[in-house]
Protein backbone atom coordinates (compact mmCIF):
# COMPACT_ATOMS: atom_id res chain seq x y z
CA UNK A 1 0.00 0.00 0.00
CA UNK A 2 1.48 3.35 -1.04
CA UNK A 3 0.99 5.77 1.80
CA UNK A 4 0.71 9.46 1.11
CA UNK A 5 3.27 11.69 2.77
CA UNK A 6 2.66 11.23 6.48
CA UNK A 7 4.80 11.79 9.46
CA UNK A 8 5.98 8.74 11.46
CA UNK A 9 3.48 9.64 14.19
CA UNK A 10 0.65 9.75 11.67
CA UNK A 11 1.73 6.42 10.19
CA UNK A 12 1.70 4.91 13.69
CA UNK A 13 -1.76 6.38 14.28
CA UNK A 14 -2.94 4.99 10.94
CA UNK A 15 -1.71 1.49 11.82
CA UNK A 16 -3.47 1.62 15.21
CA UNK A 17 -6.72 2.84 13.68
CA UNK A 18 -6.42 0.17 11.01
CA UNK A 19 -6.12 -2.48 13.71
CA UNK A 20 -9.21 -1.08 15.46
CA UNK A 21 -11.06 -1.05 12.14
CA UNK A 22 -10.30 -4.74 11.54
CA UNK A 23 -11.29 -5.63 15.10
CA UNK A 24 -14.55 -3.77 14.55
CA UNK A 25 -15.22 -5.49 11.22
CA UNK A 26 -14.44 -8.96 12.59
CA UNK A 27 -16.62 -8.33 15.66
CA UNK A 28 -19.48 -7.16 13.45
CA UNK A 29 -19.08 -10.23 11.29
CA UNK A 30 -19.14 -12.52 14.32
CA UNK A 31 -22.18 -10.76 15.80
CA UNK A 32 -24.00 -10.99 12.48
CA UNK A 33 -23.17 -14.70 12.20
CA UNK A 34 -24.42 -15.29 15.74
CA UNK A 35 -27.62 -13.43 14.96
CA UNK A 36 -28.07 -15.70 11.95
CA UNK A 37 -27.25 -18.94 13.79
CA UNK A 38 -29.12 -18.04 16.98
CA UNK A 39 -31.90 -15.78 15.85
CA UNK A 40 -34.10 -13.74 18.04
CA UNK A 41 -37.70 -14.09 16.93
CA UNK A 42 -39.85 -11.05 17.47
CA UNK A 43 -43.62 -10.93 17.26
CA UNK A 44 -44.75 -7.34 17.14
CA UNK A 45 -48.37 -6.28 17.11
CA UNK A 46 -49.50 -2.68 16.75
CA UNK A 47 -53.25 -2.61 17.23
CA UNK A 48 -53.47 0.72 15.45
CA UNK A 49 -52.00 -0.74 12.23
CA UNK A 50 -54.48 -2.78 10.14
CA UNK A 51 -51.93 -5.17 8.62
CA UNK A 52 -49.99 -5.71 11.81
CA UNK A 53 -51.92 -8.76 12.99
CA UNK A 54 -50.98 -10.79 9.95
CA UNK A 55 -47.32 -9.80 10.22
CA UNK A 56 -47.26 -10.50 13.95
CA UNK A 57 -47.94 -14.21 13.28
CA UNK A 58 -49.76 -14.63 16.57
CA UNK A 59 -53.11 -16.36 16.72
CA UNK A 60 -55.48 -14.73 19.20
CA UNK A 61 -58.62 -16.12 20.74
CA UNK A 62 -60.83 -14.95 23.56
CA UNK A 63 -64.44 -15.73 24.33
CA UNK A 64 -64.63 -12.75 26.69
CA UNK A 65 -62.78 -10.31 24.37
CA UNK A 66 -63.77 -11.30 20.84
CA UNK A 67 -62.84 -7.86 19.45
CA UNK A 68 -59.41 -7.71 21.03
CA UNK A 69 -57.58 -7.75 17.69
CA UNK A 70 -59.73 -4.83 16.51
CA UNK A 71 -59.79 -2.50 19.52
CA UNK A 72 -57.06 -3.94 21.78
CA UNK A 73 -59.40 -3.94 24.79
CA UNK A 74 -59.29 -6.45 27.59
CA UNK A 75 -62.48 -6.36 29.64
CA UNK A 76 -62.35 -6.29 33.46
CA UNK A 77 -61.02 -9.50 35.03
CA UNK A 78 -60.79 -11.29 31.70
CA UNK A 79 -58.11 -12.79 29.51
CA UNK A 80 -56.85 -12.96 25.94
CA UNK A 81 -55.00 -15.99 24.58
CA UNK A 82 -52.32 -16.01 21.87
CA UNK A 83 -50.48 -18.94 20.28
CA UNK A 84 -47.16 -18.91 18.43
CA UNK A 85 -45.21 -21.87 17.05
CA UNK A 86 -41.46 -22.02 16.56
CA UNK A 87 -38.83 -24.69 16.10
CA UNK A 88 -35.73 -24.27 18.18
CA UNK A 89 -34.50 -24.35 21.71
CA UNK A 90 -35.30 -21.00 23.31
CA UNK A 91 -33.97 -19.86 26.62
CA UNK A 92 -36.38 -17.08 27.45
CA UNK A 93 -39.38 -15.14 26.25
CA UNK A 94 -39.59 -11.40 26.71
CA UNK A 95 -42.98 -9.66 26.89
CA UNK A 96 -43.45 -5.94 26.35
CA UNK A 97 -46.81 -4.21 26.26
CA UNK A 98 -47.69 -0.53 25.92
CA UNK A 99 -51.13 0.80 26.69
CA UNK A 100 -53.12 3.50 24.94
CA UNK A 101 -52.78 7.00 26.35
CA UNK A 102 -56.35 6.99 27.71
CA UNK A 103 -56.25 3.47 29.10
CA UNK A 104 -56.39 2.63 32.76
CA UNK A 105 -52.95 1.73 34.09
CA UNK A 106 -53.20 -1.49 36.11
CA UNK A 107 -50.58 -2.44 38.67
CA UNK A 108 -49.56 -5.37 36.50
CA UNK A 109 -50.68 -7.47 33.53
CA UNK A 110 -50.75 -11.17 34.30
CA UNK A 111 -49.29 -13.63 31.83
CA UNK A 112 -49.14 -17.38 31.95
CA UNK A 113 -47.45 -19.45 29.31
CA UNK A 114 -47.15 -23.09 28.42
CA UNK A 115 -45.58 -25.11 25.65
CA UNK A 116 -46.94 -28.31 24.13
CA UNK A 117 -48.16 -29.82 20.92
CA UNK A 118 -50.85 -27.47 19.67
CA UNK A 119 -53.52 -30.14 19.93
CA UNK A 120 -52.89 -30.49 23.67
CA UNK A 121 -54.40 -27.02 24.11
CA UNK A 122 -57.74 -28.14 22.65
CA UNK A 123 -60.73 -28.84 24.91
CA UNK A 124 -61.54 -32.49 25.52
CA UNK A 125 -64.64 -33.81 23.77
CA UNK A 126 -66.77 -36.86 24.33
CA UNK A 127 -64.83 -40.06 23.68
CA UNK A 128 -65.48 -42.00 20.49
CA UNK A 129 -67.05 -45.24 21.67
CA UNK A 130 -68.14 -46.70 18.36
CA UNK A 131 -66.83 -46.61 14.82
CA UNK A 132 -69.02 -45.22 12.05
CA UNK A 133 -71.18 -47.94 10.51
CA UNK A 134 -73.18 -46.62 7.56
CA UNK A 135 -74.62 -48.77 4.78
CA UNK A 136 -72.19 -49.24 1.94
CA UNK A 137 -73.18 -50.56 -1.47
CA UNK A 138 -70.90 -51.95 -4.14
CA UNK A 139 -72.23 -51.55 -7.66
CA UNK A 140 -69.84 -52.84 -10.32
CA UNK A 141 -66.46 -51.66 -9.02
CA UNK A 142 -67.71 -48.51 -7.32
CA UNK A 143 -68.53 -48.12 -3.68
CA UNK A 144 -71.50 -46.01 -2.59
CA UNK A 145 -72.60 -44.58 0.74
CA UNK A 146 -76.33 -44.56 1.32
CA UNK A 147 -77.36 -41.34 3.03
CA UNK A 148 -80.86 -39.82 3.07
CA UNK A 149 -81.91 -42.10 0.18
CA UNK A 150 -79.04 -40.88 -1.93
CA UNK A 151 -76.29 -43.19 -3.12
CA UNK A 152 -73.12 -41.12 -3.01
CA UNK A 153 -70.17 -42.67 -4.85
CA UNK A 154 -66.65 -42.81 -3.46
CA UNK A 155 -64.12 -41.27 -5.82
CA UNK A 156 -62.07 -44.47 -5.66
CA UNK A 157 -61.72 -47.72 -3.76
CA UNK A 158 -58.73 -46.24 -1.95
CA UNK A 159 -60.95 -43.41 -0.70
CA UNK A 160 -63.48 -45.95 0.59
CA UNK A 161 -60.76 -48.04 2.26
CA UNK A 162 -59.36 -44.95 3.99
CA UNK A 163 -62.66 -44.61 5.91
CA UNK A 164 -63.81 -48.13 6.69
CA UNK A 165 -61.93 -51.23 7.84
CA UNK A 166 -61.59 -54.46 5.87
CA UNK A 167 -64.50 -56.30 7.48
CA UNK A 168 -67.07 -53.55 7.00
CA UNK A 169 -70.39 -54.88 5.72
CA UNK A 170 -70.92 -54.20 2.03
CA UNK A 171 -74.15 -54.81 0.16
CA UNK A 172 -73.52 -55.87 -3.43
CA UNK A 173 -76.09 -54.58 -5.87
CA UNK A 174 -76.59 -53.86 -9.53
CA UNK A 175 -77.65 -50.79 -11.47
CA UNK A 176 -81.31 -51.52 -10.80
CA UNK A 177 -80.83 -50.02 -7.34
CA UNK A 178 -80.79 -46.59 -8.91
CA UNK A 179 -84.53 -47.04 -9.44
CA UNK A 180 -84.86 -46.96 -5.67
CA UNK A 181 -82.31 -44.35 -4.76
CA UNK A 182 -80.96 -41.18 -6.35
CA UNK A 183 -77.34 -41.20 -7.42
CA UNK A 184 -75.32 -38.47 -5.75
CA UNK A 185 -73.42 -35.96 -7.88
CA UNK A 186 -70.46 -35.10 -5.68
CA UNK A 187 -68.23 -38.08 -4.88
CA UNK A 188 -66.85 -38.74 -1.43
CA UNK A 189 -63.10 -38.49 -1.02
CA UNK A 190 -60.62 -39.71 1.54
CA UNK A 191 -61.00 -39.75 5.30
CA UNK A 192 -60.60 -36.25 6.73
CA UNK A 193 -57.07 -35.97 8.05
CA UNK A 194 -55.59 -38.20 5.33
CA UNK A 195 -52.20 -37.38 3.84
CA UNK A 196 -52.12 -37.47 0.06
CA UNK A 197 -49.47 -36.76 -2.50
CA UNK A 198 -49.64 -35.81 -6.13
CA UNK A 199 -46.75 -34.61 -8.32
CA UNK A 200 -44.35 -32.89 -5.89
CA UNK A 201 -46.91 -31.82 -3.34
CA UNK A 202 -48.18 -33.31 -0.10
CA UNK A 203 -51.71 -32.39 0.92
CA UNK A 204 -53.79 -32.80 4.04
CA UNK A 205 -57.51 -33.40 3.64
CA UNK A 206 -59.03 -30.87 6.00
CA UNK A 207 -62.69 -31.30 5.15
CA UNK A 208 -64.93 -33.15 2.69
CA UNK A 209 -64.25 -30.45 0.12
CA UNK A 210 -60.87 -28.93 0.97
CA UNK A 211 -57.27 -30.01 0.83
CA UNK A 212 -54.36 -27.89 1.99
CA UNK A 213 -50.78 -28.18 0.79
CA UNK A 214 -47.99 -28.46 3.34
CA UNK A 215 -45.47 -25.62 3.22
CA UNK A 216 -42.30 -27.72 3.18
CA UNK A 217 -40.82 -31.07 4.16
CA UNK A 218 -39.44 -29.46 7.30
CA UNK A 219 -42.88 -28.22 8.35
CA UNK A 220 -44.41 -31.60 7.56
CA UNK A 221 -41.96 -33.42 9.81
CA UNK A 222 -42.04 -30.74 12.51
CA UNK A 223 -45.82 -31.11 12.76
CA UNK A 224 -45.24 -34.79 13.58
CA UNK A 225 -46.33 -36.43 10.32
CA UNK A 226 -44.42 -39.20 8.54
CA UNK A 227 -43.80 -39.54 4.83
CA UNK A 228 -44.54 -43.27 5.12
CA UNK A 229 -48.17 -42.39 5.83
CA UNK A 230 -48.60 -40.36 2.64
CA UNK A 231 -50.73 -42.01 -0.06
CA UNK A 232 -50.01 -41.23 -3.69
CA UNK A 233 -53.24 -40.43 -5.52
CA UNK A 234 -54.32 -39.59 -9.02
CA UNK A 235 -55.29 -36.22 -10.38
CA UNK A 236 -58.91 -37.38 -10.50
CA UNK A 237 -58.92 -38.33 -6.83
CA UNK A 238 -57.43 -34.99 -5.84
CA UNK A 239 -59.57 -33.05 -8.28
CA UNK A 240 -62.70 -33.20 -6.11
CA UNK A 241 -61.10 -30.95 -3.50
CA UNK A 242 -60.59 -27.22 -3.63
CA UNK A 243 -57.15 -26.06 -2.61
CA UNK A 244 -56.93 -24.20 0.68
CA UNK A 245 -54.17 -22.10 2.24
CA UNK A 246 -50.71 -23.49 2.77
CA UNK A 247 -50.14 -25.26 6.07
CA UNK A 248 -47.36 -23.68 8.09
CA UNK A 249 -45.91 -24.47 11.50
CA UNK A 250 -48.40 -22.17 13.20
CA UNK A 251 -51.46 -23.66 11.47
CA UNK A 252 -53.84 -25.48 13.85
CA UNK A 253 -54.19 -29.21 13.19
CA UNK A 254 -57.16 -30.08 11.04
CA UNK A 255 -60.10 -32.31 11.83
CA UNK A 256 -59.33 -36.01 11.74
CA UNK A 257 -55.71 -35.66 12.85
CA UNK A 258 -54.63 -38.53 15.05
CA UNK A 259 -52.50 -38.28 18.18
CA UNK A 260 -51.14 -40.75 20.69
CA UNK A 261 -50.11 -39.78 24.19
CA UNK A 262 -46.61 -41.09 24.78
CA UNK A 263 -47.31 -41.68 28.48
CA UNK A 264 -50.68 -43.43 28.41
CA UNK A 265 -50.81 -44.68 24.78
CA UNK A 266 -54.25 -43.09 24.53
CA UNK A 267 -55.24 -42.33 20.96
CA UNK A 268 -57.00 -39.05 20.26
CA UNK A 269 -58.63 -37.54 17.20
CA UNK A 270 -59.59 -33.95 16.52
CA UNK A 271 -63.30 -33.74 15.85
CA UNK A 272 -65.30 -30.49 15.71
CA UNK A 273 -62.54 -28.57 17.43
CA UNK A 274 -62.26 -31.00 20.34
CA UNK A 275 -59.71 -33.64 21.23
CA UNK A 276 -61.66 -36.89 21.50
CA UNK A 277 -60.31 -40.13 22.87
CA UNK A 278 -60.81 -43.11 20.58
CA UNK A 279 -62.09 -45.85 22.88
CA UNK A 280 -63.58 -48.29 20.36
CA UNK A 281 -60.83 -50.91 19.96
CA UNK A 282 -61.77 -51.90 16.39
CA UNK A 283 -61.86 -48.31 15.20
CA UNK A 284 -58.64 -47.50 17.05
CA UNK A 285 -56.89 -50.47 15.42
CA UNK A 286 -58.17 -49.41 11.99
CA UNK A 287 -57.04 -45.79 12.43
CA UNK A 288 -53.59 -46.82 13.66
CA UNK A 289 -53.26 -49.01 10.60
CA UNK A 290 -54.08 -46.06 8.33
CA UNK A 291 -51.78 -43.48 9.86
CA UNK A 292 -49.18 -43.29 12.57
CA UNK A 293 -50.55 -40.90 15.18
CA UNK A 294 -48.59 -37.81 16.09
CA UNK A 295 -46.81 -38.15 19.42
CA UNK A 296 -48.28 -35.89 22.03
CA UNK A 297 -47.71 -35.43 25.73
CA UNK A 298 -50.96 -34.10 27.11
CA UNK A 299 -49.39 -33.45 30.50
CA UNK A 300 -47.23 -30.73 28.96
CA UNK A 301 -50.36 -28.62 28.71
CA UNK A 302 -50.68 -28.69 32.50
CA UNK A 303 -47.25 -27.12 33.06
CA UNK A 304 -47.44 -23.32 33.37
CA UNK A 305 -44.98 -20.51 33.86
CA UNK A 306 -46.20 -17.20 35.27
CA UNK A 307 -44.71 -13.89 34.24
CA UNK A 308 -46.52 -10.80 35.47
CA UNK A 309 -45.69 -7.74 33.44
CA UNK A 310 -44.70 -4.84 35.65
CA UNK A 311 -44.45 -1.16 34.83
CA UNK A 312 -41.07 -0.17 33.56
CA UNK A 313 -39.36 3.16 33.08
CA UNK A 314 -41.03 3.99 29.77
CA UNK A 315 -44.43 5.62 30.05
CA UNK A 316 -47.45 3.31 29.85
CA UNK A 317 -45.15 0.32 29.34
CA UNK A 318 -45.04 -3.06 31.00
CA UNK A 319 -42.53 -5.85 30.60
CA UNK A 320 -41.29 -9.13 32.00
CA UNK A 321 -38.91 -11.92 30.98
CA UNK A 322 -39.80 -15.57 31.47
CA UNK A 323 -37.05 -18.20 31.60
CA UNK A 324 -38.38 -21.28 29.86
CA UNK A 325 -35.71 -23.90 30.51
CA UNK A 326 -38.34 -26.07 32.21
CA UNK A 327 -40.07 -26.51 28.82
CA UNK A 328 -36.94 -28.08 27.34
CA UNK A 329 -38.32 -31.65 27.38
CA UNK A 330 -41.86 -30.78 26.28
CA UNK A 331 -43.08 -32.26 23.02
CA UNK A 332 -44.46 -29.86 20.46
CA UNK A 333 -43.46 -26.38 19.33
CA UNK A 334 -46.49 -24.32 20.20
CA UNK A 335 -46.46 -21.70 22.91
CA UNK A 336 -49.70 -20.43 24.41
CA UNK A 337 -49.76 -17.10 26.23
CA UNK A 338 -52.69 -15.95 28.32
CA UNK A 339 -52.74 -12.24 29.11
CA UNK A 340 -55.11 -10.97 31.74
CA UNK A 341 -55.91 -8.07 33.99
CA UNK A 342 -57.64 -7.98 37.35
CA UNK A 343 -58.99 -4.44 37.53
CA UNK A 344 -62.68 -3.50 37.41
CA UNK A 345 -62.27 -1.46 34.24
CA UNK A 346 -61.13 -2.38 30.75
CA UNK A 347 -57.56 -1.73 29.63
CA UNK A 348 -56.60 -0.93 26.09
CA UNK A 349 -53.41 -2.30 24.59
CA UNK A 350 -51.60 -0.27 21.97
CA UNK A 351 -48.61 -2.49 21.12
CA UNK A 352 -47.51 -5.94 22.12
CA UNK A 353 -44.09 -7.46 21.62
CA UNK A 354 -43.19 -11.11 22.30
CA UNK A 355 -39.49 -11.92 21.82
CA UNK A 356 -38.08 -15.45 21.72
CA UNK A 357 -34.38 -15.63 22.54
CA UNK A 358 -32.39 -18.58 21.21
CA UNK A 359 -29.86 -20.49 23.29
CA UNK A 360 -26.30 -20.25 22.01
CA UNK A 361 -25.74 -24.01 21.95
CA UNK A 362 -24.03 -26.47 19.64
CA UNK A 363 -27.31 -28.33 19.17
CA UNK A 364 -29.10 -25.25 17.86
CA UNK A 365 -26.19 -24.46 15.58
CA UNK A 366 -26.26 -28.04 14.24
CA UNK A 367 -30.01 -27.78 13.69
CA UNK A 368 -29.70 -24.63 11.65
CA UNK A 369 -26.78 -25.95 9.61
CA UNK A 370 -28.78 -29.11 8.90
CA UNK A 371 -31.68 -26.94 7.71
CA UNK A 372 -29.35 -24.97 5.47
CA UNK A 373 -27.93 -28.17 4.01
CA UNK A 374 -31.43 -29.53 3.38
CA UNK A 375 -32.50 -26.32 1.66
CA UNK A 376 -29.41 -26.37 -0.54
CA UNK A 377 -30.10 -29.95 -1.57
CA UNK A 378 -33.76 -29.15 -2.27
CA UNK A 379 -32.70 -26.16 -4.34
CA UNK A 380 -30.83 -28.42 -6.71
CA UNK A 381 -33.29 -31.29 -6.58
CA UNK A 382 -30.95 -33.53 -4.65
CA UNK A 383 -32.96 -33.85 -1.43
CA UNK A 384 -34.57 -37.21 -0.64
CA UNK A 385 -38.20 -37.24 0.45
CA UNK A 386 -37.41 -38.98 3.78
Amino acid sequence: MVLPTLSPQQIALYQKLRLLLWIGMLSSGILFSLSVLFPQIVHFLDLNEPGSLKLADLEFSSSTNPDFTINGKIAPTSTVTAVASHLGDFSSIDFRITLEHDSLLPASITTTLRRANRAAFLPRGEPIVASPNPTIYQISNTYYLLQDNILIPFISEAAYRSRYPEGHTIVKADAAIFNLYTKGENPIGFRIGSLLSFADGVYIITSETEMRPVGSAEIFLALGYRFEDVTAVSEEELGIYKRGRIILLNTPYSEGTLFEDTSSNTVFMIDQGNLRTVLDPTYRKFLLGEQTPIAIHTEDATEYIDCDLQKNLLPRSYSCTATIDSFKDNLGYSYEFVFGQNTNQPIEIKTMRVIFDTHVTLENAHRLLAKIKQRLLERFGLASSN
Binding site: L3, P4, Y14, L17, R379
Partner: protein, 141 residues
Protein backbone atom coordinates in the same frame (compact mmCIF):
# COMPACT_ATOMS: atom_id res chain seq x y z
CA UNK B 1 -23.76 28.72 3.63
CA UNK B 2 -21.94 29.24 6.91
CA UNK B 3 -22.33 25.53 7.66
CA UNK B 4 -20.84 24.47 4.30
CA UNK B 5 -18.01 26.95 4.77
CA UNK B 6 -17.28 25.39 8.13
CA UNK B 7 -17.21 21.95 6.50
CA UNK B 8 -14.77 23.24 3.87
CA UNK B 9 -12.55 24.82 6.51
CA UNK B 10 -12.59 21.66 8.56
CA UNK B 11 -11.77 19.54 5.50
CA UNK B 12 -8.89 21.85 4.60
CA UNK B 13 -7.52 21.60 8.12
CA UNK B 14 -7.73 17.81 8.02
CA UNK B 15 -5.96 17.73 4.65
CA UNK B 16 -3.19 19.97 5.81
CA UNK B 17 -2.63 17.92 8.93
CA UNK B 18 -2.66 14.64 7.00
CA UNK B 19 -5.63 13.18 8.90
CA UNK B 20 -7.82 13.30 5.79
CA UNK B 21 -5.43 10.87 4.15
CA UNK B 22 -5.66 8.55 7.15
CA UNK B 23 -9.45 8.68 7.07
CA UNK B 24 -9.45 8.07 3.31
CA UNK B 25 -7.16 5.06 3.57
CA UNK B 26 -9.26 3.54 6.35
CA UNK B 27 -12.48 4.20 4.47
CA UNK B 28 -11.02 2.65 1.32
CA UNK B 29 -10.19 -0.54 3.18
CA UNK B 30 -13.64 -0.61 4.81
CA UNK B 31 -15.41 -0.14 1.49
CA UNK B 32 -13.46 -2.99 -0.12
CA UNK B 33 -14.40 -5.34 2.75
CA UNK B 34 -18.03 -4.22 2.57
CA UNK B 35 -18.11 -4.88 -1.19
CA UNK B 36 -16.69 -8.38 -0.67
CA UNK B 37 -19.29 -8.96 2.07
CA UNK B 38 -22.02 -7.78 -0.26
CA UNK B 39 -20.97 -10.26 -2.94
CA UNK B 40 -20.83 -13.06 -0.36
CA UNK B 41 -24.30 -12.21 0.98
CA UNK B 42 -25.66 -11.92 -2.54
CA UNK B 43 -24.22 -15.31 -3.45
CA UNK B 44 -25.74 -16.79 -0.28
CA UNK B 45 -29.11 -15.28 -1.18
CA UNK B 46 -28.87 -16.82 -4.66
CA UNK B 47 -28.21 -20.25 -3.15
CA UNK B 48 -30.72 -19.95 -0.31
CA UNK B 49 -33.48 -17.55 -1.33
CA UNK B 50 -34.82 -15.39 1.53
CA UNK B 51 -32.10 -16.63 3.94
CA UNK B 52 -30.34 -13.27 3.89
CA UNK B 53 -33.35 -11.10 3.10
CA UNK B 54 -35.15 -12.37 6.21
CA UNK B 55 -32.40 -10.78 8.29
CA UNK B 56 -31.00 -7.93 6.24
CA UNK B 57 -32.21 -5.70 3.44
CA UNK B 58 -29.68 -6.11 0.65
CA UNK B 59 -31.21 -3.17 -1.22
CA UNK B 60 -30.56 -0.80 1.70
CA UNK B 61 -27.09 -2.27 2.22
CA UNK B 62 -26.31 -1.71 -1.48
CA UNK B 63 -27.66 1.85 -1.33
CA UNK B 64 -25.42 2.85 1.59
CA UNK B 65 -22.52 0.95 0.06
CA UNK B 66 -22.81 2.97 -3.17
CA UNK B 67 -22.98 6.22 -1.23
CA UNK B 68 -19.96 5.21 0.81
CA UNK B 69 -18.06 4.26 -2.33
CA UNK B 70 -18.78 7.61 -3.95
CA UNK B 71 -17.72 9.45 -0.81
CA UNK B 72 -14.52 7.41 -0.63
CA UNK B 73 -13.68 8.04 -4.29
CA UNK B 74 -14.26 11.75 -3.74
CA UNK B 75 -11.98 11.73 -0.72
CA UNK B 76 -9.32 9.85 -2.69
CA UNK B 77 -9.51 12.55 -5.32
CA UNK B 78 -9.17 15.25 -2.66
CA UNK B 79 -6.16 13.56 -1.08
CA UNK B 80 -4.60 12.53 -4.42
CA UNK B 81 -4.65 8.86 -3.51
CA UNK B 82 -5.33 7.72 -7.05
CA UNK B 83 -4.73 3.99 -6.95
CA UNK B 84 -4.30 0.92 -4.84
CA UNK B 85 -0.78 -0.36 -4.89
CA UNK B 86 -1.58 -3.94 -3.88
CA UNK B 87 1.20 -6.49 -4.30
CA UNK B 88 0.79 -9.05 -7.11
CA UNK B 89 0.97 -11.89 -4.59
CA UNK B 90 -2.37 -10.60 -3.22
CA UNK B 91 -4.32 -9.38 -6.25
CA UNK B 92 -3.42 -12.24 -8.59
CA UNK B 93 -4.75 -15.07 -6.38
CA UNK B 94 -7.71 -12.84 -5.47
CA UNK B 95 -8.64 -12.48 -9.13
CA UNK B 96 -8.25 -16.21 -9.74
CA UNK B 97 -10.40 -16.97 -6.68
CA UNK B 98 -13.01 -14.44 -7.81
CA UNK B 99 -13.09 -15.94 -11.30
CA UNK B 100 -13.66 -19.44 -9.96
CA UNK B 101 -16.24 -18.17 -7.45
CA UNK B 102 -18.32 -16.54 -10.18
CA UNK B 103 -17.82 -19.60 -12.37
CA UNK B 104 -19.17 -21.95 -9.68
CA UNK B 105 -22.19 -19.71 -9.10
CA UNK B 106 -22.85 -19.61 -12.82
CA UNK B 107 -22.51 -23.37 -13.17
CA UNK B 108 -24.87 -23.94 -10.24
CA UNK B 109 -27.37 -21.62 -11.88
CA UNK B 110 -27.04 -23.66 -15.08
CA UNK B 111 -27.86 -27.00 -13.40
CA UNK B 112 -31.32 -27.09 -14.94
CA UNK B 113 -30.14 -25.92 -18.36
CA UNK B 114 -29.43 -28.16 -21.33
CA UNK B 115 -25.84 -29.23 -22.08
CA UNK B 116 -25.64 -26.98 -25.14
CA UNK B 117 -27.02 -24.00 -23.22
CA UNK B 118 -24.50 -24.59 -20.46
CA UNK B 119 -21.65 -24.88 -22.96
CA UNK B 120 -22.67 -21.60 -24.62
CA UNK B 121 -22.81 -19.80 -21.27
CA UNK B 122 -19.43 -21.20 -20.25
CA UNK B 123 -17.89 -20.13 -23.56
CA UNK B 124 -19.31 -16.64 -23.22
CA UNK B 125 -18.08 -16.39 -19.63
CA UNK B 126 -14.57 -17.50 -20.56
CA UNK B 127 -14.49 -15.23 -23.61
CA UNK B 128 -15.64 -12.17 -21.69
CA UNK B 129 -13.15 -12.90 -18.91
CA UNK B 130 -10.34 -13.06 -21.47
CA UNK B 131 -11.43 -9.78 -23.08
CA UNK B 132 -11.63 -8.05 -19.69
CA UNK B 133 -8.19 -9.36 -18.71
CA UNK B 134 -6.75 -8.25 -22.03
CA UNK B 135 -8.27 -4.78 -21.67
CA UNK B 136 -7.06 -4.35 -18.09
CA UNK B 137 -3.52 -5.46 -18.85
CA UNK B 138 -3.47 -3.38 -22.03
CA UNK B 139 -4.66 -0.31 -20.09
CA UNK B 140 -1.97 -0.67 -17.49
CA UNK B 141 0.84 -0.73 -20.09
Amino acid sequence: MIFSQKILDWTHHLRQSGFLSIITLLLSELIVVLWLSFFALFALEMLLPTFVLARLSLAQYFFWLLLGTLATLKLRQETSIAYFDIPKKIWFPAIIFGWFFVLILTLLALVHFSLIGGAIFFSLYTGLSFLLWHWLTHESC
